[in-house]
C-alpha cells in the first residue's frame, strides 16, 4: 500500500534515467555510424566496396590501403599544403584578432564599440557562397593569382579573423584592468603592460581560438576547390581524386579521410584542457 502510494506520488527516477540513456544511445548511433562505416570501408578490398548489399564487417582486411594511398605523391603533398595554409592562417588570425580584440575590449566600450564588435562578428554569419565569384576575380587580379598558398591564407582570414577578434575581446574583458593599471603605476608603458601582464592571462583563450581557426582552415573545401587545385591542393580537394576510371575507390577515399582526421584529433587531445576552459569562459561571460 505504502509502496504504491510512493510510486504514484514521486517521479520514477530510474525510468527517467533509462529513457535518457536510450536517447544517448540513439545519438551515439547517429554520430558514430559514419565513422564506423569509414573505418570498415577503409579496410575493405576494392571488390567488396561496391556490393549492392554492403558488408558491415570486412570479409578480408586490407591494411595495405593506408600505405596504398601514399603511392600517389599528391596525397602527402596535399596534407602538407593543408598544414601550411591552416597554420599560417591561424597565426595571422590570432595576431590580428588578439590586437583588435584588445582594442575593442579596452578602448571602445559603449555603443560604438558594441556595434563595431557585432559588425565584425556578423562577417562570420555572412553566407560565403554569395561572394564566391567576386572573390575568384579578386584573387585572379593579384600578382600571385588564385592558385597559391597566400590566396587561401588571406581568404580564410575573412572567416577566422572575426571569430578570433570577437572571442579575444571577450577574454580581454574578463582580464582585470587593475593589473594593467598597476603596471602603469609601476612604470610600464601600455604596450609593455599588454605583453607582459595582460597577454599571459588570455593564453588559454588564445589556444582555443587557435584550435577553432585551425580546424576551419583545415576542413574548408568550397573555396579551396574553386580557387586552387594545381600548384596548391589542400587535402579536401585531393580526396575525390581517388578514382580508377569510372570507379570511385571508396576504400582509399575513406583511408585518406581517416589519415586527414588525425592531426586535428591529436591537437584536440593535447590542447583540450585549454580548449574547454577557454570556450566555457567565453560562453559564460559572452
Amino acid at each position: 500500500m505504502s509502496r504504491t502510494a510512493a510510486s504514484a506520488g514521486q517521479p520514477n527516477y530510474r525510468l527517467i534515467r533509462y529513457v535518457l540513456l536510450a536517447f544517448l544511445v540513439i545519438w551515439l548511433v547517429f554520430t558514430l555510424f559514419p565513422l564506423y562505416f569509414a573505418v570498415i570501408t577503409a579496410l575493405k578490398p576494392v571488390e567488396e566496396i561496391n556490393r549492392m548489399v554492403p558488408t558491415f564487417w570486412p570479409e578480408t582486411f586490407r591494411i595495405d590501403n593506408f600505405s596504398g594511398i601514399f603511392a600517389d605523391p599528391g596525397s602527402l603533398k596535399s596534407l602538407i599544403d593543408s598544414i601550411i595554409i591552416a597554420s599560417a592562417n591561424t597565426a595571422l588570425s590570432l595576431v590580428l584578432g588578439t590586437l583588435a580584440g584588445y582594442a575593442l575590449a579596452r578602448y571602445l566600450r559603449g555603443a560604438l564599440g558594441e556595434n563595431l564588435a557585432f559588425f565584425i562578428l556578423s562577417q562570420r554569419m555572412f553566407p560565403p557562397v554569395a561572394i564566391l565569384i567576386p572573390i575568384f576575380f579578386l584573387f585572379d587580379a593579384t600578382p600571385w593569382g588564385t592558385d597559391s598558398y597566400i590566396t587561401l591564407i588571406l581568404l580564410y582570414l575573412v572567416f577566422n579573423m572575426p571569430l578570433a577578434t570577437w572571442l579575444m575581446m571577450v577574454f580581454f574583458r574578463d582580464a582585470p584592468k587593475e593589473l594593467e593599471e598597476a603596471a602603469y603605476l609601476d612604470g610600464y608603458t601600455p604596450l609593455r603592460a599588454f605583453f607582459k601582464v595582460t597577454l599571459p592571462l588570455v593564453v588559454p583563450g588564445m589556444i582555443s581560438v587557435a584550435m577553432l581557426c585551425w580546424i576551419f582552415a583545415w576542413n574548408e573545401y568550397l573555396f579551396a576547390n574553386l580557387l586552387t587545385g594545381t600548384t596548391v591542393k589542400t587535402f579536401p580537394v585531393h580526396i575525390p581524386t581517388f578514382v580508377a576510371g569510372s570507379q570511385t575507390l571508396w576504400n582509399f577515399v575513406m583511408a585518406f579521410s581517416l589519415v586527414a582526421m588525425l592531426p586535428p584529433v591529436i591537437l584536440f587531445i593535447i590542447l583540450r584542457r585549454y580548449m574547454v576552459r577557454g570556450l566555457s569562459l567565453g560562453v559564460v561571460k559572452g
Binding site: 587593475e178 593589473l179 603605476l185 609601476d186
Partner: protein, 368 residues
C-alpha cells in the same frame, strides 16, 4: 614625499543619459607625511578622486598638485605614486617575490638591490615564507599584504590605498589595521586611504575626509567629526549605531530652552551656547541629534533626563542596543548588557546637555 593639494577638482563622466558629475569642486590639502582617509558610501566619488590623484583618470576641472607642482598632465609614472588596489591586482603569472620586485625591475634597479629590498619589505609585512608562491595559492590576507608590499617597495611621493581591507574578515582586518598604522609610523609617508568603513578610517587616519554625493562634506580629525559634525550626513555616517535624529520644536521662555520632540512627550535641553546659537538664528524648529552612546541609564549630577518605552532590547555582547519609542518618535540607546528592561517597559535615560547636537531643519547644517 609630498604635500598633495586638490583645488576645485571636478570629475564628469559623459554618458548617453547625460553627464554624471562624480566629483564636484573638491578642495583638499593633505600635509606631507599625513595619513588621510577618504570616507564615504559607495558611489560618493571617493574612488574617482583617488584615480585622479593617481593619474588613471583624466581631471575634468581643477588642479591637483604635489608639493605645489600641478600634476594634471603627468602620467602615473611621472607623478611617482604607489597604489594598492581593492582587488589586489597581483600579477598572476609572477611569484610573490617577482610581484614585489616588479616596480624596481621596471626602473632598472640591479638584481642585488632588488633582492635586498624584497627581503626588507617581506620582513616588514611578515611574508617571507610565501615569497616563492604564486598569488592564487595565497589567502586573501596574504594577497593583501603582498599588494601592500608592492606599493611599499617603491619610494613614491604618496601612497594610495583603495579599499584594501574590504575583502578581509574581521579578525584579519583588525590585525592589518594595526600593521598599517605601524608601517605609517615607521615610514612616515603621505598615505591616502580610501574606504567606506568608518571604523577603518577613524582607527587609521590623522584626518578623515567625508564625502557624499560627489562633494566633500567635512575634513577633520576624529574628534571634530564626532563632536562637531558639519551636517546630519556626517553625524549619521560617523558612529555606530548611527546618531538619532529627531525633529523638535523650540520652546523658549528666555532663560531655559526646551526642544520638544514632535508628536512625543520628551524634550531635550540644550546647553547655554547651543541655546544662544538657536536664538541667534531665530529658529522655531530644529533637528536634534543625539548619539545612542550618549544616552545613559546611570544618572550623574547635572544630567538631564528623558523617559521612553522599550520596544526591543538587543543584546550585542559588550553592550545592548535599546530601540525606544516615545509617542511617534523612535530612537536608540546603547546601554550596558546588565540592563534587562524588556518590551513595553519604560526606562529613564540621562544625557548631558552638551551632547545634544542641533542641526538646521532645512539645510541640515550643524548649528551647534
Amino acid at each position: 614625499m609630498a604635500r598633495v593639494t586638490l583645488d576645485k577638482v571636478n570629475k564628469i563622466y559623459p554618458s548617453r543619459h547625460g553627464d554624471v558629475h562624480a566629483v564636484q569642486d573638491l578642495d583638499l590639502a593633505i600635509e606631507d607625511g599625513e595619513f588621510v582617509a577618504l570616507l564615504g558610501p559607495s558611489g560618493c566619488g571617493k574612488t574617482s578622486t583617488l584615480r585622479m590623484i593617481v593619474g588613471l583618470e583624466a581631471i575634468s576641472g581643477g588642479v591637483i598638485a604635489f608639493d605645489g607642482q600641478p600634476v594634471n598632465d603627468q602620467t602615473p609614472e611621472q607623478r611617482n605614486v604607489a597604489m594598492a588596489f581593492e582587488t589586489y591586482a597581483l600579477y598572476p603569472t609572477f611569484t610573490v617575490a617577482q610581484n614585489l620586485a616588479f616596480p624596481l625591475e621596471v626602473k632598472g634597479v640591479d638584481k642585488a638591490t632588488r633582492d635586498e629590498k624584497v627581503a626588507e619589505v617581506a620582513r616588514l609585512l611578515r611574508i617571507e615564507p610565501i615569497l616563492d608562491s604564486f598569488p592564487r595559492q595565497l589567502s586573501g590576507g596574504q594577497q593583501q599584504r603582498v599588494s601592500l608590499g608592492r606599493a611599499l617597495i617603491r619610494d613614491p611621493a604618496v601612497f594610495i590605498l583603495d579599499e584594501v581591507m574590504s575583502h578581509l574578515d574581521a579578525h584579519l582586518k583588525f590585525q592589518m589595521l594595526f600593521e598599517l598604522k605601524r608601517i605609517h609610523q615607521t615610514l612616515e609617508r603621505t598615505i591616502v586611504y580610501v574606504t567606506h568603513d568608518q571604523m577603518e578610517a577613524l582607527a587609521l587616519a590623522d584626518r578623515v575626509a567625508v564625502m557624499s554625493d560627489a562633494k566633500l562634506q567635512q575634513f577633520g580629525d576624529r574628534d571634530t567629526l564626532y563632536d562637531r559634525p558639519a551636517n546630519t550626513f556626517v553625524a549619521g555616517f560617523i558612529g555606530e549605531p548611527p546618531t538619532n535624529f529627531l525633529e523638535a520644536e523650540v520652546r523658549d521662555d528666555g532663560t531655559t530652552m526646551r526642544l520638544t520632540i514632535r508628536d512625543a512627550s520628551a524634550a531635550f535641553v540644550p546647553d547655554g551656547p547651543r541655546a544662544a546659537a538657536i536664538r541667534d538664528q531665530g529658529l522655531r524648529t530644529v533637528i536634534v541629534g543625539i548619539r545612542p552612546q550618549n544616552l545613559h541609564v546611570r544618572h550623574d549630577e547635572g544630567d538631564e533626563q528623558i523617559t521612553a518605552t522599550v520596544e526591543i532590547n538587543e543584546y550585542q555582547g559588550e553592550h545592548s542596543i535599546l530601540s525606544l519609542r516615545d509617542g511617534a518618535a523612535e530612537f536608540r540607546a546603547m546601554v550596558p548588557p546588565s540592563v534587562k528592561t524588556g518590551e513595553g517597559e519604560t526606562i529613564d535615560l540621562s544625557y548631558r546637555s552638551r551632547d545634544v547636537m542641533v542641526f538646521h531643519p532645512e539645510t541640515e547644517v550643524f548649528i551647534s
